[in-house]
Amino acid sequence: MSSSPVPRRELKDKAVDLLLSDQFVLYLSIFYVLLLAPFLPMLVTPANLVNVLSNMWPLLIVAIGQTFVLAIGGIDLSQGAAIALTSVLGAVLITGAADPATFANTPIWGWLLTDAGGPLAGVDHGVVLAIAAMLVAAVVIGLINGMAVAMFAMPAFIVTLVAMMIFSAFALWLTQSGNVANLPDDFIRLGRGDIVSVYFGAKEEAKIARRAIYSLVTYPMVIAMCVALAAHMLLNRTVFGSQVLAIGMNRKAAEISGVRVRRIIIAVFVLSAVCAMIGGLLFAARLEAGRPTLGGGSFLLDVIGAAVIGGTSLFGGKAKVIWTFFGVMFYVIMASSLSAMNLSAFQIDMVKGGIILCAALLDVLRTRLKRERVR
């Protein structure tokens, strides 16, 4: 074993470079797909890719909101509840009809919701008004979280945990756990509307079956990409973003340097709730219903897991939107491959948990490598 140590060192350096690069999770995703493709050919079929993408966009938007909160060293557990509440609110306002059998016992029956639907049903620009109302609700939720954390110095964990309890219970109580359906087409289009579609097949067919057309560019994609781009600029290119990261790195130093710490913390929680609401809007539109159970279950694990897999630190100060983008991508690819393996939902959650654990371990490893490199 007399091979010279120099090339080996270079190889190790390259490996460390790769591990520390912004695109590491992208490479990991590609590697994962290439590794599994021979065994699960359906993973790379157009149908599956379209499916993976459609799962990715709403999650991406929510995870971007979470990324900002993680960046200040906080955590927002109430995003799922914000989704539940805003989706129910929006749906109730614009639903075209409601079934008395389901809703007659709800506290909103008779004044907000009748069998003829909600107050904005059939109104001009009703969808826009409903979305505005959802936005206001999200801002209120964010303000409550942010003010509790910033003004009273309460831990974000407990504040948002309580907010999660209260708002998701409130959403359930409003509709007595009923799903509000009969939403107008304008709204539903936001969840699945194609802008560009592709068709693989012979040109001669006179009529193309709907299922043979694959969506390439959809409304959710455009919305999510716009949000991602704006969020990227905001976090990494603006004064606001620099201050967000500064608070995450050293709140005291930021405060003494004149950063408006409290104001920024509040803004970040509002941003998180608004992102949750936009993501929830896309979910609700795709499911064609406002559901008080949206954003429940292990959804929060998906959001935080995806952000952490991307490389955002739970300790604050270290976050990039592009990391979250790749994290979400890896996460949905993994989830889709697991369901393609015919695993049950329980088994999938077990594997997901394991992967998030690995991501947390990886974060520790990367931090250590970075520290060694500095020396």
């Binding site: 620099s242 790195m249 130093a253 003494i256 340097s257 500095v374």
Partner: protein
């Protein structure tokens, strides 16, 4: 006297870069050996080799004349070496006795034998002439007392070599005295001590022998009588300093920058009047707990005060920190690590933190990166910050002196009218101290007002145009440069005289 520990040609390199080269010296039994050197001189690596944390690349050690090759820190502890660290390793939520026995509680019939623990603890404490009860919680002790508990733990583990690394940085003068008495006491009981410190007068007072390290090598050694302080400094930095302080290059002008009247916060500061003029360095002296830093925090708007007014260049100031910054104040706190820097962020990010808004362009305040690069690069040159790449190198990778320059540079980018500097040279080695002093002098020469707080009276006497002395939250008097007199300033600080 025999040698307890001998190092013979000890070397250590990291990735081919030597941290220690061929270091040889011996520690005599029942003596105090002082080790001095600038930051980065190789003291820590050397101590880590003695402590078994780091393996030497070459050379060897003898313990009582026998080969000593520690495989880990546990070997060093077993043989009788104990470290008293800068950051104390005590459990503040546990009692003194519990801390002493943390490595293994004696048991009787399966239960912890508290009676024996308390008895033995009391014995160890009395060996150090400590009068507190072993059941008292460590969190309730002062930093000085905690350090003595740490020494008690070392004695309890039957250590025969105690290594002190900068033990006095967080102690009051009284606690320092007590520590020194304890060290003398330990020596008379046959303990051997290695004492590492930047405070050369302490080294001179305490040590029997001295070893000077520079750039990883031993540059000189001898008995303390052969080493007056100027020689120590010369050996450490390898050249003559021509004095510790740069000459002041300007005279303060008449115009008032800062004016505080009747500042009062019950229990903290009492009726403080203070003026700082353009181009003036005002020294603020006082013992630990005299309210110096508290006054600085009030002046900067970080803490409230019940009564009194502050004005900057004639404009009254109130409200949050931000208002004070925008009016032209800057504050370099005593605690660089926790309040001054984002240790993981780059030098450039740290430099721009206080002036971020000025780099924003357009309605979304997009950061003008070219301007950031230009301004931070200029600041790096101006302050002579030694960093390989200010955009990628994190602040924590810099030496203490360069870190402090970054904190000063952060404010310099705002071009403030008043600088409040709280212990600006704490944790900064001798060579870099001079650079910091020069920077302060330059700021004053450009017309900035400076309020400099320090526990080192020599430093204030070397730099200040005027020294104001505080005691228990009150200003006891002021001394002009031409009347500087150590005895008088100390007497004011101890509250023995007042004007």
């Amino acid at each position: 006297m025999t040698d307890l520990l001998s190092l013979q040609g000890l070397s250590k390199s990291w990735f081919g870069i030597p941290a220690n080269r061929d270091v040889s010296f011996s520690v005599r039994e029942a003596s105090v050996l002082g080790i001095i050197g600038q930051n980065g001189a190789g003291k820590s690596t050397l101590m880590n080799m003695i402590g078994g944390v780091v393996k030497p690349t070459s050379g060897h050690m003898l313990w009582r004349g026998l080969p000593y090759e520690p495989a880990g820190a546990a070997d060093a502890t077993r043989i009788g070496i104990a470290f008293i660290h800068q950051e104390l390793n005590l459990f503040t939520n546990l009692s003194v006795a519990e801390n002493l026995y943390i490595d293994g509680f004696p048991r009787r019939m399966g239960l912890i034998d508290w009676k024996r623990i308390n008895e033995r603890s009391r014995q160890v404490l009395s060996r150090l002439s400590l009068d507190f009860d072993p059941s008292v919680e460590v969190g309730r002790l002062s930093p000085g007392e905690r350090q003595l508990v740490e020494i008690a733990r070392a004695l309890h583990n039957e250590a025969s070599l105690l290594i002190f690394d900068e033990p006095t940085t967080s102690l009051t003068p009284r606690e320092t005295e007590r520590l020194f008495a304890t060290i003398e006491n330990l020596k008379s009981q046959g303990c051997t001590i290695i004492y590492i410190s930047h405070i050369l007068s302490d080294v001179q007072r305490l040590c029997d022998d001295i070893v000077v390290l520079r750039d990883g090598e031993l540059v000189s050694k001898g008995t303390i009588t052969e080493f007056p302080i100027p020689l120590m400094i010369r050996s450490m930095i390898g050249r003559d300093m021509g004095g510790m302080f740069p000459p002041r290059s300007n005279q303060p002008q008449g115009a008032t920058v800062l004016e505080a009247r009747g500042l009062t916060q019950p229990g903290v500061i009492e009726d403080v009047d203070l003026t700082v003029h353009e181009g003036e360095i005002l020294g603020l002296f006082g013992l630990m707990g005299a309210g110096r830093s508290e006054l600085a925090r009030v002046l900067f708007g970080l803490d409230k005060c019940a009564k009194g007014t502050i004005s900057l260049k004639g404009r009254p100031l109130e409200g949050p920190v931000r208002a004070h910054i925008e009016a032209g104040m800057a504050f370099v706190t005593e605690n660089r690590r926790e309040e001054g820097l984002m240790m993981d962020a780059s030098v450039a990010e740290n430099l721009t933190l206080a002036s971020l808004a000025a780099f924003g362009r357009g309605p979304f305040a997009l950061i003008d990166r070219d301007r950031v690069a230009e301004r931070t690069e200029r600041m790096r040159e101006e302050l002579n910050i030694k960093a390989s790449d200010i955009h990628s190198q994190p602040a924590k990778a810099l030496s203490g002196g360069n870190q402090q320059k970054v904190v000063i540079g952060k404010w310099q980018l705002r071009d403030p009218d008043l600088f409040i500097l709280d212990e600006p040279t704490r944790g900064v080695d001798v060579g870099a101290k001079y650079e910091i002093y020069s920077l302060i002098d330059q700021i004053a020469a450009r017309g900035g007002g400076i309020m400099m707080i320090s526990s080192e009276l020599e430093e204030l006497m070397g730099m200040a145009d005027r020294i104001v002395v505080m005691n228990r939250g009150e200003i006891k008097g002021q001394v002009l440069r031409q009347d500087f007199d150590r005895e008088r300033i100390l007497a004011l600080a101890f509250g023995e005289i007042a004007e």
